[in-house]
C-alpha cells in the first residue's frame, strides 16, 4: 500500500468476490432491469412500512452476495453499510439478523464508494479478510423524510432527481478473483454555494471534478486511460457541469465518462434529471459494471460516488449543500 497525495494505491490489490443488486418495480422496468438479482414487484418487499421494505431489500442484497460467493455470514470480518434514512436505520436493522461486525457509514449517494474504499483499506491493512459493503435507498422512505408525502400534489423542478429504490452489496476479499480494487481517493468537501436541494447535481459536480482532478494528478494518468469513468449520481445537470469543468481545463472528457444517475432509468420513465440515492450508484455498480469487469468487457473503471451532504433541517435553515466524491479504481478481466 502506497499513498501519494490523497490517493492510496493497493500494490497488493483487494479483490471483489461477489456482488448483488436488488431493486424496486420502476428500477426493474429500466434499462438495467434484467440485470438485477431480484426485483420487488411492488416496492414493499412484503413489508408494512417503507422503512421495513428498504431494510428487507438490504437483507436480500446481502443474502444474494453471500450465496453467490458461497460463504456464510460468519466468514465476513466486517460489514460497512449505509443509507439515507435518519440514523442509517435500513443498514443497521438489516444487520440484526446477519450477526456480522458492523460499521455504519453516511456518505449519502457516495456511500458505496466510501464502503469500497474503507473495505479495501481494512483488508489491505490487515484488519480484515473479507468485508461486505452495502448501500441502499428507497424512493418512498426518502420522500417522506426529505420531501413530501407520496400523494402530495406539489411538483418538482426539472433539475430534481428521483431517489432510486435499490440496494447493492459487494463482498471484498484478500484472495485473487477477476476484479481488483487497485486504488482509492477519499474526497474532500466542496461547497460551491448551491442552496437548492432540488438541484443536487449542481451541488456535487464540483466535488466530482476536484476528486477526479486530484486522482489524475496523484496517479499521473489522464481521462483517456480508462474504459469507464463513472460518477454517481450527478444526473444530467451535474454530468454536464463536470464535462464543462474538464473542458475548460483543456482536457475534455470523452464518451467514456458516464453517470449512474443517467443509466438506471430510461428517458420515458419521467425521473427529471435522473436517478439519485445511495442505492443508485450501488445498484449500477453491482448490476452492470462489476459483471462487465468480471467478463472482461471493461478493463479499468473509475467509480466515483458523489454525495450531497445536506439534511432537511440544514436546507430549511438556508445552508448551502456540501458535496463530496470518493473515487475507487477497479480493474477487471484479470
Amino acid at each position: 500500500m502506497r499513498r501519494r497525495g490523497d490517493t492510496v494505491f493497493f500494490d497488493e490489490p483487494v479483490w471483489v468476490e461477489s456482488c448483488a443488486a436488488v431493486g424496486g418495480k420502476k428500477e426493474g422496468e429500466g434499462p438495467l432491469g434484467a440485470r438485477f438479482d431480484e426485483i420487488g414487484p411492488d416496492n414493499r418487499f412484503g413489508q408494512k412500512t417503507w422503512e421495513k421494505a428498504e431494510k428487507r431489500m438490504a437483507e436480500l442484497a446481502c443474502t444474494h452476495a453471500l450465496s453467490k460467493a458461497d460463504v456464510s455470514p460468519a466468514a465476513v470480518t466486517c460489514a460497512l453499510g449505509g443509507d439515507l434514512l435518519n440514523q442509517c436505520i435500513s443498514s443497521a436493522f438489516a444487520m440484526r439478523g446477519l450477526g456480522v461486525p458492523y460499521l455504519g457509514l453516511y456518505g449519502a449517494c457516495s456511500t458505496m464508494a466510501e464502503g469500497l474504499l474503507l473495505g479495501a483499506a481494512l483488508i489491505s491493512g490487515g484488519f480484515a479478510d473479507r468485508t461486505l459493503c452495502l448501500a441502499s435507498s428507497h424512493f418512498c422512505s426518502a420522500e417522506r423524510q426529505y420531501r413530501y408525502p407520496l400523494e402530495y400534489g406539489g411538483q418538482r423542478p426539472p433539475s430534481a432527481q428521483w431517489t432510486a429504490t435499490a440496494c447493492g452489496a459487494v463482498l471484498l476479499r484478500r484472495e485473487k478473483t477477476k476484479i481488483a480494487v487497485t486504488a482509492a481517493t477519499a474526497g474532500r468537501i466542496y461547497d460551491p454555494g448551491v442552496t437548492d436541494s432540488a438541484n443536487m447535481g449542481a451541488a456535487m459536480a464540483q466535488s466530482a471534478y476536484e476528486t477526479l482532478r486530484i486522482y489524475f494528478r496523484d496517479s499521473g494518468t489522464s481521462p483517456g486511460d480508462y474504459d469507464l469513468i463513472l460518477t454517481g449520481d450527478l444526473a444530467t445537470v451535474g454530468h454536464g457541469l463536470v464535462r464543462q469543468l474538464f473542458a475548460a481545463d483543456g482536457r475534455p472528457l470523452g464518451e467514456n465518462y458516464r453517470d449512474c444517475g443517467m443509466l438506471l432509468y430510461g428517458p420515458e420513465q419521467d425521473v427529471h434529471a435522473g436517478a439519485s440515492g445511495c442505492g443508485c450508484s450501488a445498484a449500477v455498480l453491482c448490476a452492470d459494471v462489476l459483471p462487465a469487469l468480471a467478463a472482461g468487457r471493461l478493463k479499468t473503471v473509475l467509480f466515483c460516488g458523489t454525495g450531497a451532504l445536506m439534511s432537511p433541517t440544514s436546507a430549511n435553515q438556508g445552508e448551502s449543500i456540501p458535496g463530496i466524491c470518493h473515487l475507487v479504481r477497479l480493474e477487471g478481466g484479470r
Binding site: R144, P149, E151, G153, P192, A202, V237, A248
Partner: protein, 148 residues
C-alpha cells in the same frame, strides 16, 4: 478550473433546465379553471336547492374539499397534479390534498403521533395565516362596528 461562487452559479444556472412554462401554464389554467367552473356549478345547484348565498358558498368549499380528499385517498390526485401542476394545487382542492396526503403517509407512525401530528405539516401555514387574518379582520370589524 477554479471558479468562485458567482462564476459557478452562473455556470450551473445555465446548465439547469427551467420548468416548461409553455406547457405548464396552459395546463394549470385549464384545470384550475375547470375546478372553479365546477365550484360555480355547485353553487348554482345549492342556491336552487334553497340555500342562502353564504351557506351555498360554504357548501361549495366543503364539496371541493371532499373531492380533493377523495381523489387523494384513491391515489388519483397526485396523477392529476402531475399533469395540472398549480391548477389543482392553488384551488381549495390543493389544500385538501395537503392535509390528506400526510395524514395517509404517516399512518405507519400511529394515529396520534403519525396521522394527527403530521396532517398539518404542509397546510399548517395556510391555517396559521388564515386564522390570524380572520381574527384580525374580526377585530377590525368589531372596532369599526363599535365606533359606528
Amino acid at each position: 478550473m477554479k471558479l468562485n461562487r458567482t462564476e459557478y452559479r452562473s455556470l450551473y444556472q445555465k446548465a439547469s433546465p427551467s420548468s416548461p412554462s409553455l406547457r405548464n401554464v396552459p395546463a394549470a389554467f385549464v384545470t384550475g379553471g375547470a375546478i372553479c367552473a365546477l365550484g360555480q356549478a355547485l353553487k348554482t345547484l345549492f342556491l336552487q336547492a334553497g340555500l342562502t348565498e353564504q351557506s351555498a358558498a360554504a357548501a361549495v368549499s366543503c364539496a371541493l374539499i371532499f373531492l380533493g380528499v377523495a381523489l387523494t385517498a384513491a391515489r388519483l390526485f397526485e396523477k392529476l397534479a402531475k399533469w395540472a401542476g398549480a391548477g389543482t394545487l392553488v384551488p381549495i382542492t390543493g389544500f385538501a390534498n395537503a392535509i390528506a396526503a400526510p395524514a395517509m403517509e404517516f399512518k405507519t407512525e400511529g394515529f396520534v403521533l403519525g396521522t394527527c401530528v403530521k396532517m398539518f405539516s404542509i397546510a399548517g401555514p395556510v391555517l396559521t395565516f388564515g386564522i390570524s387574518a380572520s381574527v384580525l379582520y374580526g377585530l377590525i370589524l368589531w372596532l369599526a362596528g363599535g365606533a359606528a
